[in-house]
């Protein structure tokens, strides 16, 4: 039985190929339990102003231990390279981490990245010494540009953030994977377990999701489903699926019938 190497991002080994977001949960406590059920080692987090009027309200880090999990600060809500750099400088100071997730958005309607601005921001961040995992469109041409600019992971969207529509364009994801030398992680679009399995069967190195778990009726159970789905898809990819056939092919021997 083939054995799988861990996912390696910017020199870091991750035993789980599932990365989860920490938004949209009812409570940080639910979030922490879903994280545990998911088996994920890396989580995305946002950088926001502290609440001055109520400094004592629950904090993410009181429920999820930055010593135990890899925190991946994101730039959700940034629409320019400058916003992104400013946000991530603060993140680096707050957490002391150089590994970040860049997203530079355009229209809130679809929350697709502005790829021209995303590429510019990637170059700015790399110049400042960040290790940049980049949320991007599924355009193989821009994926290549990002890799050439020094991105340590390419994170094409499978479908609009929070839509749960599943991988819309397997052809593009496949083309990106064929060309990439850094990890390709589908980010956004997964709605249920089979979507995650399909992404991994295409040969992705990992999957990042948030809403599919947080908005399931039972987020903890869905987190476990996603853990298994990512393993299933990865193992199926490595195992090499059977060929599809147009007609039937019996599973029991034809000889020796009474």
């Amino acid at each position: 039985m083939t054995h799988d190497a861990p996912l390696k991002v910017a020199g870091r080994d991750l035993s789980s190929r599932l990365i989860i977001g920490t938004g949209k949960y009812e409570t940080y406590e639910q979030n922490a339990r879903a994280l545990e059920a998911s088996g994920a080692e890396m989580i995305t987090v946002a950088v926001r102003r502290v609440n001055l009027s109520d400094p004592d309200k629950p904090r993410l880090v009181d429920f999820i231990d930055p010593e135990k999990y890899v925190f991946l600060p994101n730039t959700a809500g940034c629409f320019t390279g400058e916003d992104a750099v400013r946000t991530l400088r603060l993140a680096r100071e707050a957490g002391g981490w150089k590994l970040v997730k860049l997203e530079v958005l355009s229209d809130p309607k679809h929350l697709y990245p502005d790829m021209a601005e995303t590429l510019r921001a990637t170059e700015m961040l790399i110049k400042e010494g960040f290790e940049v995992m980049v949320y991007c469109s599924d355009d193989p041409v821009y994926a290549k540009k990002l890799e050439e600019a020094g991105a340590c992971a390419i994170m094409p969207l499978g479908a609009p953030i929070g839509s749960g529509l599943g991988i819309q364009n397997p052809v593009n994801i496949r083309l990106i994977i064929e060309e990439a030398k850094v990890p390709v992680i589908v980010d956004a679009g997964v709605g249920t377990a089979s979507d995650a399995a399909i992404a991994m069967e295409l040969g992705c190195d990992g999957v990042l999701m948030n809403t599919a778990i947080a908005e399931a009726k039972d987020p903890i159970l869905m987190a476990s489903a996603m853990k298994h789905a990512v393993i299933a898809g990865r193992q199926a990819y490595l195992a090499g699926r059977m060929a599809k056939k147009t007609y039937a092919d019996p599973s029991s021997p034809l000889a020796g019938l009474i």
Binding site: G23, V45, A46, V50, P55, L60, A91, A94, G162
Partner: protein, 69 residues
């Protein structure tokens, strides 16, 4: 001696004069180890919290990590 006024996270606030950043965070009831601070568009390194003095009209951003996708 009268209080000085600064802008914190977009809100205007007052503070006793001559406070260090550490003192100011304490004044706001914030744990310095759990936040990051930008002062007048420059990162304030945690190692400098005692050395940095809050000046009138400073524009200060104090952030931390929250859940996000």
């Amino acid at each position: 001696m009268s209080e000085i006024s600064v802008t914190v996270n977009g809100e205007s606030r007052t503070a006793p004069p001559g406070l260090s950043l550490s003192g100011f965070l304490e004044h706001l009831g914030l744990d310095p180890r759990k936040v990051a601070v930008e002062r007048n568009l420059e990162i304030a390194p945690r190692s400098q919290y005692d050395a940095i003095r809050i000046e009138p009209d400073d524009r200060i951003e104090i952030v931390h990590f929250v859940g996000g996708g």
